[in-house]
């Protein structure tokens, strides 16, 4: 008897697709060449459904669901694009931009930023909600990296990669609501962290210029994330 996961069939944007029951809508959509915008999601890290950009509509469910954390079900009818979804995604982006001080023109990640790319994709040139202009400090105490809270969107990719891949759990969250921010160790300067291994994985998974390498000037920070699928593959290999 086969005890592995069962196969389910469903439709995404009217296209019939097959999936293992433990797979998410996002995985299957991508596998079938259907693009769903994401921001907090990163292949290889535990999805959290935080940013809400990957919302999709499922027939029979009133509220849109986050594709990155919703498992497929038999007969599910998924819609990944609609005027309503576009409006929601746009507003989510607006909210992110209004929350901190995202000034692309002086940002190290200008031209290499997931948030900026999405703004371009959605033609977001202006906000309908007012900017909050919070005052956030920059933590440049680490010898190789800089943390600029002004550009953080609280996606927690850094927190997850450090915990799940590097195994150091240097990063965590502090405070709640709009006061929430990422911290290292028990809210100590990054440079004084006893647990940080200096691996830089957090910097490269960061979607914006919040985490960057020192010495990089404006527009010079480019993130490379190839290590993540590679490490995952190697680990799987070892398990087999």
């Amino acid at each position: 008897m086969i005890t592995g996961p069962r196969i389910k069939t469903l439709t995404i944007d009217d296209k019939p697709v097959g999936a293992r029951e433990d797979e998410t809508i996002l995985t299957i959509a991508r596998e079938n060449g259907i693009r769903i915008p994401t921001l907090c999601h990163l292949e290889g890290l535990t999805p959290i459904g935080g940013c809400r950009l990957c919302l999709v509509e499922v027939k029979g469910i009133a509220r849109p669901v986050a594709a990155c954390v919703t498992s497929v079900q038999e007969g599910m009818e998924v819609t990944t694009d609609s005027p309503r979804l576009t409006q929601y995604r746009r507003m989510v982006l607006e909210l992110l931009f209004s929350e901190r001080n995202h000034v692309c023109s002086v940002c190290v990640s200008n031209g290499g930023c997931d948030l900026q790319d999405l703004a371009q994709e959605f033609g977001l040139t202006h906000l309908t909600v007012p900017y909050q202009y919070p005052r956030h400090k920059v933590d440049a105490s680490h010898p190789w990296f800089t943390l600029d809270h002004n550009r953080c969107i609280l996606c927690t990719r850094c927190v997850r990669v450090c915990d799940e891949i590097e195994g150091a759990h240097t990063w965590d969250l502090f405070g709640r609501g709009m006061q929430a921010r990422v911290i290292t160790d028990l809210n100590q300067p990054w440079g004084s962290s006893q647990t940080c291994t200096g691996c830089g994985k957090c910097v490269h998974v960061c979607p914006t210029g919040a985490l960057s390498e020192k010495g990089k000037s404006v527009r010079e920070m480019r993130k490379s994330r190839e290590f993540l699928p590679y490490l995952r593959l190697m680990r799987q290999g070892r398990q087999v």
């Binding site: 040139t125 202006h126 906000l127 309908t128």
Partner: protein
């Protein structure tokens, strides 16, 4: 080969409806091929644009106008000197007619038209007013028609 038609869309896209010209230009760029019309978007007209203006078959200036009824599309010929005379100031009050005047230094002065769309919101930030969407489409249609 220089395209026979030049579209100059001017205005500051960071100031509300002032971005209308740029929006019209991007609409036109979707419908017409590069060989037909060259598109120049700029925050303000500058004397340095004069060499690009010379020797075209047609130059179309596109601008959002305060003081005109929002949504009205107006098309008028441009010539130098215009009714306002030679014109004094530089950068901020540099008009299409001025550019046409300077173009004479670099070749044949082309036929030129100014397309304006009445607009009202020129505050910082904010996209082009939703109420101007139909005017935007109409203006883009006119420009495309003229360019063919």
């Amino acid at each position: 080969m220089t395209p026979p038609v030049l579209l100059i869309a001017y205005g500051n896209p960071l100031r509300g409806d002032d971005g209308l010209a740029a929006a019209i230009a991007s609409e036109v760029s979707r419908t017409l091929p590069e060989e037909t019309v060259e598109i120049l978007t700029t925050v303000q007209l500058l004397p340095e644009h004069a060499p690009s203006v010379a020797d075209r078959r047609l130059v179309i200036f596109v601008d959002a106008r305060a003081g005109e009824k929002p949504g009205t599309v107006n098309l008028s010929p441009v010539s130098y000197p215009d009714e306002a005379g030679g014109g004094a100031a530089l950068t901020h009050h540099f008009r299409p007619a001025h550019l046409l005047g300077l173009a004479s230094l670099f070749g044949r002065v082309p036929r030129a038209l100014l397309l304006t769309v009445g607009a009202s919101e020129f505050g910082y930030g904010g996209p082009v007013s939703a109420s101007l969407r139909s005017a935007l489409a109409a203006a883009a249609g006119i420009v495309a028609g003229l360019s063919r």
